[in-house]
């Protein structure tokens, strides 16, 4: 019965988080909070899905944002050009990301270490050039403009802020829960085996290439989900979404939040967003400020916030199971 309890515990936490999120706008009428959380949903999905690869699988992807961008573009295009319903567009976007990730992943996951990173980066830049070049479909460098139509479905009208907020929260919490369950599943532990010692895992009968590919595809799908949320937020899709800067931001989020705790990337995304939103308000030299903060984290702590807490907890508990 032990495994059932874990599963239920995670779901209960997710439900609680969702209820809290939904109650939040009631406590403060400010739309800033709502906007903040919608963006956090998008970036949290991106960062957490990247951490499935980096933190759990030991696969350092430099090009993860390509799926974020693909998700945004496919979703927006389906609504704009194919005029399908929102759920169909959502499913198509995730499916497209899965397919793309399967093709690119099949090539990338064969490579190890830094070469895997380079190849993902190269694919991302290639995809970015294609988006820029294929103007008739993507709108090129201007992005997909003109707004995304949001037909009402199941009584949900995404042009209303409240509906949109609830929708994004449900997508994000659902996505995060799904990733959590995946990472706690047998598959999740196989992934940890590969991270710790890929060679040994192969000698224990693990089909390394296949498991990595599954992880790559799954991470791509959830990054795409994040892209969908972002495209709803900005009502469009832009080449920047699949640019290296977006991947870089995601990498920084997971490093800032910590890669050894499931919600670390989410915490990192939140912290970076708070930092960014505050600093840009006061100075145009936010690059300088962010640079200093990054140096503080990388050289001072050498690890993310949640990892610091985890170490602290571990050292006070002297011993015990790893939380990951």
């Amino acid at each position: 019965m032990n495994h059932l309890r874990d599963w239920q515990k995670d779901s209960l936490w997710a439900l609680l988080a969702l209820l809290l999120l939904l109650a939040l706008p009631l406590t403060s009428p400010s739309r800033v909070v709502v906007d903040f959380i919608i963006r956090l949903c998008a970036m949290g999905l991106l960062a957490t899905s990247l951490n499935m690869l980096v933190g759990y699988g030991g696969m350092v992807s430099f090009g993860h944002a390509m799926f974020f961008g693909s998700g945004a573009y496919v979703f927006a295009l389906m609504l704009q050009k194919a005029s399908v319903s929102v759920p169909v567009a959502l499913l198509t976007a995730m499916l497209a990301c899965a397919l793309l990730a399967a093709v690119i992943g099949a090539i990338c996951v064969r490579l190890k270490g830094i070469y895997f990173s380079f190849l993902t980066l190269a694919f991302q830049m290639l995809l970015h050039s294609i988006i820029i070049t294929w103007t008739s479909m993507t709108g090129g460098d201007q992005g997909l403009t003109g707004g995304i139509p949001r037909p009402v479905f199941w009584g949900i009208d995404l042009s209303q802020t409240q509906h949109m907020y609830v929708f994004c929260c449900v997508l994000a919490v659902g996505g995060l829960l799904a990733m959590r369950l995946l990472m706690q599943s047998p598959f999740g532990y196989t992934l940890r085996m590969l991270r710790d010692n890929e060679d040994r895992a192969a000698y224990l009968g693990v089909h390394v290439w296949r498991v990595r590919l599954y992880a790559f595809v799954l991470a791509g799908v959830f990054a795409g989900l994040g892209g969908v949320v972002m495209s709803l937020f900005v009502s469009g899709a832009f080449p920047d979404f699949s640019y290296w800067t977006m991947s870089g931001e995601a990498v920084f989020m997971i490093m800032m939040g910590g890669i050894h705790v499931f919600i670390g990337p989410l915490v990192g995304a939140g912290l970076l967003q708070i930092f960014n939103d505050t600093v840009t308000r006061f100075t145009p030299y936010h690059g300088l400020a962010l640079g200093v903060v990054i140096l503080l984290f990388t050289l001072g702590f050498q690890r993310g916030v949640t990892d610091v807490f985890r170490l602290f907890r571990k050292s006070s508990a002297a011993a015990g199971k790893e939380s990951l």
Partner: protein, 300 residues
């Protein structure tokens, strides 16, 4: 796609001459920047993602030095030395502390400096783009060689690139310091066990890599306007060159640079709208079929 144009060009000698010389010029400029990046990777095993920013810093230092002295040679020298010193400090106080860490931490430290340097340049030199202008000595009509046109200034830049390539090759393979550097690259613990100061070697190599980036920025300053953030496209270009040529291989960087130069000069005829895409595509193909690059050692 304009494949007919490309085929037409390939059928004409003068077009081939011109485009090839164009490719060589682009390649020479690319090599100037990429050499430092690949040298640092080859010896230290770290990727200096701040390399483009070093280039930018070099260009700006050259600009100021040129305005002060009116001498292009002094400007380029100041750029190289200035950035070399900066790189030494950067290595000493920041990079050194993350050599043993995850590549992600190294990436972030460099990223932090990309952000910081962009803002510093903006504070010191302003947000508007700046231009140094061609020194009067090079304001002369271009040379006509074998049906192709080659500006005098580029002849000079190409010789500089060739000289640097030769000096690097000579130093690394024919001198004692080169032997020590190669030993430090292959087996750092053995090198320090032999009583050599690995740390100093690393600092020197990093600083020299920075010097090359700064020098490149200074050398190219007369024909490239500068603005904060200009380092990024330079980083991407030299990164592609380095990966294609083989991370850590100086001769690979030279080959990669020329290859990219040719891809750009001929690609701009055949695929005018997808030249950059072609560069990434070639990087993908190299990584898929020969991950360690043209001249790199095979993946273990």
């Amino acid at each position: 796609m304009e494949l007919t144009a490309l085929l037409e060009c390939l059928g004409s000698v003068s077009c081939i001459v011109t485009q090839s010389s164009t490719g060589l010029i682009i390649g020479a400029l690319l090599f100037l920047v990429a050499a430092g990046l690949t040298l640092i990777f080859g010896v230290l095993g770290v990727i200096n993602f701040a390399h483009g920013s070093f280039y930018m810093l070099g260009a700006y230092i050259a600009l100021t030095a040129y305005r002060l002295t009116d001498s292009y040679a002094l400007a380029a020298l100041a750029a190289g030395v200035g950035v070399g010193v900066f790189a030494w400090l950067f290595e000493r106080f920041f990079m050194r502390r993350v050599y043993q860490s995850d590549v992600l931490l190294q990436l972030l430290v460099c990223y932090a400096f990309i952000l910081i340097l962009d803002d510093v340049v903006k504070i010191v030199w302003g947000a508007e783009f700046q231009s140094m202008g061609m020194p009067p000595a090079f304001q002369m009509p271009p040379l006509f060689i074998g049906g192709g046109v080659v500006p005098v200034f580029y002849v000079y830049l190409m010789s500089a690139a060739g000289l640097i390539a030769f000096l690097l090759w000579f130093t690394l393979t024919r001198t004692r310091i080169g032997k020590i550097i190669r030993a430090a690259a292959q087996n750092p613990s053995m090198t320090s066990a032999l009583g050599l100061n690995t740390r100093l070697i690393y600092a020197l190599v990093f600083s020299f890599g920075g010097l090359l980036a700064g020098l490149a920025g200074g050398l190219a300053a007369p024909v490239r306007s500068m603005s904060p953030g200009m380092g990024f496209s330079i980083l991407i270009e030299s990164f592609i060159v380095t990966v294609i040529g083989g991370m850590g291989s100086v001769s690979g960087a030279l080959l990669g640079a020329i290859l990219i130069g040719l891809i750009r000069s001929f690609g701009s005829i055949g695929f005018p709208l997808f030249v950059e895409g072609l560069m990434f595509l070639s990087m993908v193909l190299i990584l898929v079929f020969r991950p360690s690059g043209i001249m790199g050692k095979a993946q273990s």
